[in-house]
């Protein structure tokens, strides 16, 4: 079952970043190989390359999710969001308010502040957050209809750092579409996130910085879909003791 992201049902649970690829052509090929349904983009000072980049993104036929990457205050993020809404012609915004330069950990206070302002102003906020359940409730109260807890720090490739916390968060908000954003390094991390019941995964570095980004993009697309399918198939509960899978009845006396 694909969840509704502000009225949009996605064809694939993979959201892919557009930065750090060896070339625009490889980025384009990676997107096509992955089947990703969403591309994250940003705004930076005009340097003459913006139009060509935008033409490639539009040609991909995916949903565009602008970010507020690099913003360290609510004010800065809100201003960036307004600029992004005008340029990309979407109410979607991946809201990043960074609180620590080393871990790129979201600032929960600035995030909530900006989310309140933007949701009241008609934005569809995708907040990049920690797995904190109290923060999640505050963001939902502020008008967020999607949550994006981190797997691990941005660009770290560590996977799901706090599996227990993510599982708890998932269980606490069964009706809120949730995306694991950041920190994924391998397709198995994406599959694990989907198996836990998350609705999508968002990643960039793991694909863009792989030796073969196109092959890795395809692997992430397959893994995310496999995890989503496994979730609908109702996985077995792990147990501590062995249980024979081959029947004992009819075994020969040798």
């Amino acid at each position: 079952m694909m969840r509704d992201f502000y009225g949009v049902t996605l064809d694939s649970p993979l959201m892919l970043g557009t930065a750090q690829y060896p070339s625009p052509a490889i980025m384009e090929a990676a997107f096509r190989a992955s089947g990703a349904s969403v591309a994250t983009v940003s705004l930076r000072r005009e340097s003459g390359q913006g139009q060509a980049f935008w033409d490639i993104i539009r040609g991909l036929g995916v949903h565009v999710l602008p970010n507020t990457a690099g913003c360290h205050s609510a004010r800065e993020a809100v201003t960036t969001a307004h600029m992004a809404r005008e340029v990309f012609e979407t109410n979607w915004i991946k809201l990043e308010v960074i609180g620590n330069a080393d871990t790129l950990q979201p600032d929960p206070f600035g995030l909530l502040d900006a989310a309140e302002t933007l949701a009241a102003d008609g934005f569809n906020v995708f907040p990049y957050m920690t797995e904190d359940q109290v923060l999640a409730q505050r963001l939902v109260d502020a008008g967020c209809k999607v949550l994006m807890p981190w797997g691990a720090p941005i660009g770290s490739g560590l996977g799901l750092n706090n599996r227990y916390g993510l599982k708890t968060l998932r269980a606490a908000f069964p009706d809120i579409p949730m995306v694991i954003d950041a920190g994924l390094g391998l397709p198995s991390h994406a599959a694990a996130a989907m198996e836990l019941g998350f609705d999508a995964v968002l990643l960039n570095t793991a694909v863009a910085q792989a030796g073969d980004p196109v092959a890795m993009a395809r692997a992430f697309g397959m893994a995310a879909s496999a995890g989503a399918l496994a979730r609908t198939a109702d996985p077995m509960e792990p147990r501590d003791m062995a249980a024979p899978s081959t029947p004992l009845i009819g075994k020969a006396w040798l």
Binding site: T40, V41, E46, W54, H82, A84, E86
Partner: protein, 65 residues
């Protein structure tokens, strides 16, 4: 008139934001603007006058994660 455009001091003859963008060669470009840290919608550019020392940010689509 000297204004700060994307962190660089520029000598501008135009007086409105709209005309300034045209003068800088960004007339038809897909950009968003902020004046002195505040978002300036496209529709307001023609009627917004610039003053000496103003800080104009001109942002364009870029790769992002």
């Amino acid at each position: 008139m000297k204004i700060d455009v994307n962190g660089e001091m520029r000598d501008i003859a135009a007086t409105s934001v709209d005309a300034t963008l045209a003068e800088l060669g960004w007339g038809g470009a897909r950009v968003a603007t902020a004046l002195n840290g505040e978002f300036l919608p496209k529709a307001a550019r023609a009627d917004t006058a610039l003053r000496d020392g103003d800080r104009l940010e001109v942002l364009a689509p870029m790769q992002g994660g």
